[in-house]
Amino acid sequence: MAEVVPLEVKIRRYNPEVSESAWWDTFHLEVEPTDRLLDALHEVKWRHDGTLALRRSCAHGICGSDAMLINGRNLLACKVLVKDVAPKVTVEPIRGLPVLKDLIVDMEPFFAQYRSVLPYLINDSGEPDRERPQSPEERERYDDTTKCILCAACTTSCPIYWGDEGYVGPAAIVNAHRFIFDSRDESAKDRLRILGEKSGVFRCRTTFNCTEDCPRGIKVTKAIQEVKRAILFERM
């Protein structure tokens, strides 16, 4: 038998079919220290309370489904190991987006902000027969921001975003950055104009929560600073 350790999981619950207000439930589990926190949440759902609602899919940090507020920090439940939080862990939905049920939030506002920054390559100069050339250095320029998995951990850790749902938020800026600094793209100016508006990058107060909470290790604050500078000095 594998070694097991006790884990107390305290979960913020909400279900409008049951109650208008949220409540806390606590579950006492025996789980392996090398289990993911997601495995522990499954243990709750599969053995204790089937009504617990959460999103998850790949279970190894690439699909971006299971961002949650875990012991006060935004993390992916599948990238946290039990041994790193035992004997007690508190799990809540990410902040700043409407909670629909338990750990499930409404992602639509988040994706609407993502869509607002033209998150796709724009190049109207005609398509060559082969690949558009790009040097390794040009490719490296935007490498970091291509890692984004749209989990919303950054955006929902941002105090400005909590206070102002009009703010486009770190994730949208990261995805704009990915194209603004791509040598093949021709619409940096349009994105910089969008991000220069009052809902854009200048709402950022450089608190670094986004960078600390990005499960992909993207230097989010740095990307935001680069976009700010590009707007101020009109250069990429």
Partner: protein, 576 residues
């Protein structure tokens, strides 16, 4: 309350195949994409190593060599015309993704960089060739993101977190689907002239698996229950390098970049099994080699795993070309790959089988390949068959792009030229009744227990190495689980985000797929590709150079067969 929607083309699933089909179909006809997830959560995003195409950016290469490797890699069960189409269209597919912005790694002169991958060779097996186009070790992530970005650009209509539970057929052709909306618990009928299933795989039927929790064979089950057979289900790929006990994938790219497998004695054992291409032999052969090493006592400390070793690689290569998988080892195993070898074991990875299709991704039924007008499938959920008995690494990403596009194009053309098939009032009733039965079930059985038992028995009895005795036992056990399944209680009786109910339905789909896999594997008394029978260790072309078709029948599975479409490549012994 049921809502009815009317579209020309409906695509079920929003991974690579579904999105690529959507980009094609939405150009011409009213198109909707239905996914049980948000599109960017799809498992295409977990693919790591690359997408092969004979660009010849680094060294000489040709689509013909690629087609040959695909056929040989698939142990000659591949339909050769389909493999030729895929290899020929690969170059265009990669260039198109690049034009859409995919951030491929680059050569010093600004071309798409390419690297080696298992089973991909120069001139029919002479040596490994650099054919895999890649974006670090997140190629699938970049493909999924790029396709989704293009869908946003073209304003494709998505129905996110809608779970398709039934296929509507009428007058012998596709008429639409029924979907369960997770957010509300309401049913929706989607009328459509053409329907394409791109719902991914079913690898969650195994305990040690690289697959997402959500890969439960949904689309295949929906079709199977409507009388459509599932082809070549006995062929399932076990990827050699899953993280020990967890099954999380460590990309073949690690070996493509020079990583090697070693046993307890520190021996690079693949030199014995595949003297020419060694650690870059196809996945089925490497997984069997690991099994053999473990069986003969050369697993690490006598246990059921071996080591993947990258300590000799340049740390720069590790950080720039395989950063994500390096991080997996650090997080999940606490192992630092630059200084310590990584414990790995074979993990259930990819189903070669699926809904039978032709090269336009049209669903075809029976030995005479009768087309069901308006019905399509592409990607892992389909069997075209380009992977035959064993898929080569990178060919899945290629498959989804090539056959997603072909399916999308054809379904748009079909929808433009045909009207909707009639759908009668109450088309959703059967699905509604079944959902009610699941919700109303009372008993002491748990969904989680039945699923765990299924996963355990499939890994033990229908895994890397199989026998008639083991498969017979598996058949009895799957049948017993099917009998228990109706008594499994769904605890959540609510309407909002009832993921408990969805998991119950997903388990039903997994049981369907498992029953076909076991039946087809038991019948096929030969060894070929991913299907290895310890009691019939040789390939038997005389009797078994044919595809299986598994139909749902009263009391179980009925098997039929159809011939393999041959081409220029004559089956020969598969050595590397």
């Amino acid at each position: 309350m049921t809502t009815t929607h009317t579209y020309d083309a409906v695509i079920v699933g929003a991974g690579g195949a579904g999105l690529r089909a959507a980009l094609e179909a939405s150009n011409d006809v009213r198109t909707a994409v239905i996914s049980k997830l948000y599109p960017t959560r799809s498992h295409t995003g977990a693919a790591q190593g690359g997408m092969c195409a004979a660009l010849a950016n680094i060294e000489e290469d040709s689509p013909e060599w690629h087609a040959f490797d695909t056929v040989k890699g698939g142990d000659y069960l591949v339909d050769q015309p389909a493999a030729e189409i895929m290899a020929n269209e690969a170059v265009e597919a990669v260039i198109e993704l690049e034009h859409w912005g995919l951030p491929f790694n680059r050569t010093p002169d600004g071309k798409i960089d390419q690297r080696r991958f298992g089973g991909h060779t120069r001139n029919h097996g002479e040596a490994p060739v650099r054919r895999a186009c890649y974006a670090a070790d997140r190629t699938g992530h970049m493909i999924l993101q790029t396709l989704y970005q293009q869908c946003i650009k073209r304003d494709v209509r998505f129905f996110n977190e809608f779970y398709v539970v039934d296929l509507l057929l009428s007058e012998g052709r596709a008429a639409g689907v029924v979907a369960y909306e997770l957010a509300t618990g309401e049913l929706h009928v989607f009328r459509a002239t053409s329907v394409l299933f791109a719902t991914g795989g079913y690898g969650k039927m195994f305990k040690i698996s690289s697959n997402a929790h959500t890969l439960t064979g949904d689309g295949m089950s929906v079709c199977y229950r409507r009388g459509i057979p599932l082809e070549d289900m006995e062929f399932f790929q076990f990827h050699p390098t899953g993280i020990y006990k967890m099954g999380i994938l460590i990309s073949e790219a690690v070996r493509g970049e020079g990583g090697i497998l070693i046993n307890h004695e520190g021996e690079r054992f693949m030199e014995r099994y595949a003297p020419t291409i060694k650690d870059l032999a196809p996945r089925d052969m490497v997984s069997r080699a690991i099994y053999q090493e473990v069986k003969e006592g050369r697993g690490i400390d006598g246990k059921d795993y071996v080591h993947l070793d990258v300590r000799h690689l340049d740390p720069e290569v590790i950080e720039t070309k395989i950063p994500d998988v390096t991080e997996f080892a650090r997080i999940y195993l606490g192992v630092e790959p630059t200084t310590d070898p990584v414990p790995i074991q074979p993990t259930a990875h990819y189903g070669m089988g699926g809904i039978p299709t032709d090269t336009d991704s049209r669903v075809v039924v029976g030995e005479d390949e009768r087309v069901i007008p308006g019905l399509y499938a592409a990607g892992e959920t389909a069997c075209v068959s380009v992977h035959g008995a064993n898929r080569l690494g990178t060919n899945s990403l290629l498959d989804i792009i090539v056959f997603g596009r072909r399916g999308g194009r054809h379904m748009a053309g079909f929808a433009a030229g045909a009207g909707h098939a009639p759908v009668e009032a109450g088309a959703e009733d059967e699905a509604a009744d079944e959902l009610q039965r699941r919700l109303g079930a009372t008993g002491t059985e748990r969904i989680a227990d039945i699923r765990a038992e299924l996963q355990e028995l499939m890994t033990d009895l229908a895994g890397v190495v199989r026998t008639a005795a083991g498969l017979t036992e598996a058949q009895g056990k799957v049948r017993a689980l099917r009998e228990r399944y109706p008594r499994a209680t769904v605890q959540d009786k609510g309407k909002l985000y009832n993921t408990d109910l969805m998991e119950a339905w997903e388990l039903g789909a997994l049981l369907d797929c498992a029953e076909t896999l076991v039946a087809a594997a038991l019948a096929r008394d030969e060894s070929r590709g991913g299907h290895y029978r310890d009691d019939h260790q040789l390939r038997d072309d005389e009797n078994w150079l044919r595809h299986s078709l598994a139909y749902q029948d009263e009391g179980g599975v009925r098997l039929e067969y159809k011939p393999v479409k041959m081409g220029p490549y004559v089956p020969m012994e598969r050595k590397y």
